[in-house]
Symmetry: C2
Subunit: 276 residues, 2 copies
């Protein structure tokens, strides 16, 4: 793929055929379209400029919203992605929600209740750091609900997202795919730097031991929750520079397709002179 | 004031004596401590670096929050301040709330109900673009409540903020003070640039005509809601570069005083080797 073909990343990484997607076939270290870090930096910079301009229009227009869903295994790079790609935007138009272990109040409701509350309002970009997909990932791996319930949830989630899209919320879903080796390195790094210790907890090791179960849960989820209106994108994420270039490209292209417009000027504004 | 005295900005602009503060004495174009734009840029950059580092600790610590309240007359620069000072921080640790005209649901509750919901949780920096202070500003100017109720609200607001501070929320309040001339220029600019038209509405003109009433309401509010634990800072804001240097300085210094600390490492983390 030549550099000028970077617009095809969206297609390349989109999960299209929901019955045939094979997780094992994804190469987390691949960097199709880019030969190295030097090529990635100007792409991210150009996309940042585009996103900034489009974000102002989206905000001014106040008619549609963009929801970004980020899912990954531990150390997959969700935090870094948010920082690198959405950090440079106007914080007033960006709303990040990190979904943690549900509270007692949240558990007293259906699993989409807390999610619906955090859907970005018109004019905004909302970012989900983890999401309702945990309810078919961690919930499946740890058998918090049975398989039949998991399958029902796929359908419920698809219906929920369709509802949102029909009501002006564009949805982009990214799974940051890292290799088992890369995770080992990143976890070890957190242990080796005392200032990173707070990011580590022993539970991460137990989850790592369930790697294959997670891969299976991801594969099933990706296959079942990728309708053409809101498909997943599986991004090779071992190389952070590649991940950032690709995601920024897909986000900026999507915002362009949303065609946000400044609202029409009120009649006669050009004749007003502000008094002393 | 010499450049090295920039730490005294906090004291210089703090409203200390609540009975004697005179709004008319503030010079919105003043730039004490700085001779020009060139001197301001490195100060903002240095403060951005400090805030970034302190923000990570605040987030990791997860024990206390910082609430920034921004109030200004139209075009006072709230949006620009948010962008310039909080834009470079990690969006995951920043939560911006723009308070608009209250909804029917909000009006069905006391005026602090919607505000309390938006107080930043532990670990976060919350920014209020407008705030509960509108309920003693616009509410006073437009006689939405009577004078007796306004005075009661000063006391209620002070009690509310004291409650927050006693529960781990540090509060910094900035009034961005611009001159009447500067507002005229900024409003005119919005009319002269078609892409800025969406920021203008005719209501702004009606509010501008009430300038003196707003000044009176601000003066009364600043005098009555500046206890030493949560005083207002009145920032000369005609010069954006000055405003940004000063506010970033006060925010960074305050975060330093909060002394956020990385949580203590779990015992034995340094002995863990991540398995293959």
């Amino acid at each position: 793929m030549a550099k000028k073909d970077k617009k095809s990343w969206e297609k390349l990484f989109r999960v299209t055929n929901d019955a045939e997607f094979k997780y094992a076939k994804v190469d987390p270290a691949a960097t199709p379209g880019l030969s190295g870090r030097e090529e990635a930096a100007p792409i991210l910079a150009a996309n940042t400029a585009r996103m900034n301009e489009l974000q102002e229009r989206l905000y001014a227009e106040g008619a549609q919203a963009l929801l970004i869903v980020l899912q990954a295994l531990d150390t997959g790079g969700k935090d870094g992605t948010i920082r690198a790609i959405f950090g440079p935007l106007n914080p007033q138009g960006v709303q990040v929600t990190s979904f943690k272990v549900p509270t007692a109040l949240e558990l007293a409701h259906d699993y989409l209740w807390r999610v619906h509350q955090q859907v970005p309002p018109k004019g905004m970009i909302g970012i989900f750091n983890r999401s309702h997909y945990e309810d078919v990932l961690v919930a499946k791996v740890h058998h918090l609900v049975d398989e039949k319930a998991v399958r029902k949830r796929y359908a419920q989630i698809n219906a929920f997202e369709e509802h949102l899209q029909e009501n002006g919320v564009t949805i982009l879903k990214f799974h940051l795919c890292i290799s088992r080796d890369e995770q080992r390195e990143r976890l070890q790094q957190r242990l080796d730097e005392p200032e990173k210790h707070w990011k580590f907890n022993r539970g991460d090791l137990a989850e790592r031991a369930l790697w294959d179960d997670y891969v299976e849960a991801y594969q099933a989820m990706l296959r079942n929750c990728s309708p053409s209106s809101a498909p997943w994108h599986v991004i090779p994420a071992d190389k952070k520079w590649y991940r950032n270039a690709v995601i920024s490209q897909i986000v900026a292209d999507t915002m362009e397709k949303m065609e946000p417009k400044f609202p029409p000027a009120e009649e006669g504004l050009d004749k007003i002179v502000i008094p002393e």
